[in-house]
Structure formats: C-alpha cells, structure tokens
C-alpha cells in the first residue's frame, strides 16, 4: 500500500468516524427532545387539559394575558412544612 493509499484510507476512516459521531449526536439530541416532549405531554394531556373545555382561549395568553400565566403548569414549588406560619390563606 502506497503512501497515497494509506493517506486516503486514513482520511476515509476519519470521515467515517466524524459522520458516525455526528449521527450519534443527532440521535442523542433527538432522544432528549423526545423525552422532554413526552414528559410535557404526560403533564399536560395526561391530566385532562384542553383549551376548549378550560375556556383558555386566545385572550388568556399573549398580549391580552392581563398578567395571568399560561396553562403550562406551575414553575415553583409547594411542599409541606413544620415551620410556624407567616401568613394565612382563607378565613377572611
């Protein structure tokens, strides 16, 4: 095998490697994206959401939201606590 052939073979190996890495990367990105979508669907459709039944029409979001947040779920946290209350909700 001549120097030229060995060079061409190395180029082919490197190219194949890069192509494989690219495909693997794309698949990984796609897998993550799919997992995210599935999780979102579990939350938003698995619990019976629906803009028509909720009445959450176009006025409920965008420039007409009036400060109301959308129906993408609550981004914060609520948990039980043993701390003494700083405020009350209800009974007023």
């Amino acid at each position: 095998m001549g120097i030229r052939e060995r060079g061409l073979r190395r180029v082919a190996v490197v190219t194949t490697g890069l192509a494989a890495a690219s495909v693997a990367g794309s698949l990984a990105v796609a897998a993550v994206a799919h997992a995210g979508t599935a999780a979102h669907q579990t939350v938003s459709t698995g619990t019976g959401s629906g803009s028509s039944s909720d009445g959450s029409g176009s006025n409920g979001s965008g420039s007409n939201s009036g400060g109301l947040t959308g129906d993408s779920g609550f981004g914060g946290q609520v948990s039980g606590t043993d701390k003494g209350p700083q405020a009350t909700s209800g009974g007023s």
């Binding site: 609550f74 701390k83 007023s92």
Partner: protein, 309 residues
C-alpha cells in the same frame, strides 16, 4: 376573628385592616418593614380609588354613571380591567367582572363589615355574563349602560402581586403580601420557603405549606364573606350565569401559582364550577386543595399530602 389575627406580628411583619379584611406584610429584612408598609398602603389606596364599588368618587363608579359612554380611565384601572377580562376569558366566563349588579341585588352594596350585620331584601337574580361587552380602547373604558363592574375577584390578587413586586424591587428584600388570604411573594424567600397556614377558620380542615420564592397562593371560600339575605345564607362568589351565589360544592378552594391573579382566577372559577372544577385545575397544572361541603379534603396536582385535620 380572622384567622390571620391569630398570628404574631413579629419584627419584619406589619398588619392592618383594609377593604373589610386584613393586609399582612412580611419582609426578609425587618429594617425595611416601615418603608414597605408605606409602599403597600399607598398602592392599595390607589387601587381603591380606581376600583371600589363602595366609593362614589372611584373610577369604577364614574364609569357606571356614564351610562354606556366611553370614559377616560387611569392606567391602573385599565390594567385592572385588562386583568379581569383575561380572567374571564381564561375561565370561560366563570370569573366575570360584570357581576356588580348581582352583588347589589344580593345586598353586597356596601363595605362587608356593614353588609354582614343586616338581612336585606329577597334574592333576585341579576346575571352577569357581559364581560365581552366591556371595551377598553386607547385609554377609554366603555361598559354597557346599567352594568356595574365588580373587580373584587381579581383586583385584590392583582394588588397583592403588584405590592410584593414593588416592595422587593424598591427595597431589595424578599416580600410576602397577603390581602385577605390572597398571597403574593417576590424576591428571595426565607430558608425553607414562605410558610402559609391554609384554613377557613376554627373547625375547618387546615394544613401548613411552604411556597417557594415568587410563588402565590389564593383561597376562595363559600364560608367566609357570607351573610343573610332574604332569609337565607348567601356568599360572595356569584355564578355569572345565574346571578346567584354558586352552590356550595366546595367550602374552600386554594390554588398555588406563580401569580396571585392566576391562583385567584383558578380558585374562584373552581368554586363556580363545582364538581367540574377538578378537570380544570388538572388542566391548568396548578397544585390545589379543595375542601368539600362535608369537609373532606381533595388534593390536586403537586399539593403536598398530609396536614389535613
């Protein structure tokens, strides 16, 4: 005695009466309490002047007296109306800003501390449902003649959101603002979050939860703010389709969201919807706690277990 009055007023806490209920302010830096109280009180005064049904000099009453003609309104009232319209749209009309006349006919025509002492005339339905006819264009508000706006359901929550954000931004502290149990927070929270006792009073199921920085919590009740009218007990959450108080499927509904106006719209709509509240709350993806007429507690979404008794 309001439940909140059983809590101590410690350094970093201020509490006073407003709008027939109690305002409670908690800040993470006690040194900021005085200035924070002034900011909140000033903002609440402005909201009252814009939206009160009980002040003849309010903008809402000026719009009512205009008899269907467009009226220039302040940016504050414009924002309140925009928020109330958004709540109506989001809830399919369950939270309707045009139920003012229904409230009047039910006897809620003055400060609640006065309403609750008398048994007024018989209940005559005065349906709302007219929120789509409320127009706000180029700073001018138009409502149909004879329609009285009632912004109570959303204005209190809007004010809580605004006050918490104002205090945190101006003073650089974490802030919790509670207006009759409509709670908004802004800025950093204490370690473990803001702790809130959720209950409608003595003998009612209760639990204590922690909400994270920036979260909000609202409770709507068919038990509180109830009075005698026409020989029977009525409460302040009106079904716009009938103009009468919503049937008591739920004693209280509490909802956590990232804005108090969102939490309040959801909790109020849940009371109006009755048994149909659960799919709505699940669909909105908001943690919620509902106390049924027989005091059974229903938790929705991420509302934490335990604490009910």
């Amino acid at each position: 005695m309001p439940l909140v009055d059983t809590l101590p007023v410690t350094p970093g806490v201020a509490q006073w009466s407003v709008w027939s209920t109690t305002a409670r302010l908690v800040v993470t830096d006690p040194a900021a309490t005085g200035e924070a109280s002034r900011l909140v009180a000033g903002e609440l005064a402005e909201v009252e002047l814009a939206a009160s049904r009980f002040r003849p000099d309010s903008e809402v009453m000026r719009v009512y007296r205009a008899g269907g003609r467009p009226v220039p309104v302040s940016p504050r009232l414009a924002e309140l109306v925009t928020t109330a319209r958004a709540a109506a749209a989001r809830t399919g009309g369950d939270v309707d800003l045009t139920v003012g006349a229904a409230m009047l006919r039910l006897g809620y025509d003055r400060d609640f501390s006065l309403v609750s002492t008398c048994d007024s005339q018989s209940a005559v339905s005065a349906p709302g449902g007219g929120w789509r006819a409320v127009r706000l264009e180029r700073g001018e508000l138009t409502v149909p003649a004879g329609t009285l706006l009632d912004l109570g359901a959303t204005a209190k929550a809007w004010a809580a959101d605004r006050c918490a954000a104002l205090v945190s931004r101006r003073l650089g502290v974490g802030a919790l603002v509670s207006l009759g149990g409509d709670i908004a927070t802004a800025g950093p929270a204490p370690d473990g979050g803001w702790s809130v006792l959720v209950s409608d009073g003595p003998g009612e199921p209760e639990c204590t939860v922690a909400i994270s920085a920036g979260a909000a919590l609202a409770t709507s009740s068919t038990v509180s703010r109830a009075w005698r009218h026409g020989g029977r007990s009525v409460h302040h959450i009106v079904d716009p389709r009938t103009g009468l108080p919503a049937p008591t499927v739920w004693r209280t509904v509490s909802v956590v969201a990232d804005r108090c106006v969102t939490a309040n719209a959801a909790s109020t709509a849940a009371v109006v919807r009755g048994v149909r509240a659960l799919p709505m709350l699940l669909g909105w993806g908001l943690p919620a706690r509902l106390v049924a007429a027989d005091r059974r507690v229903v938790r929705v979404g991420a509302w934490p277990p335990g604490g009910a008794r």
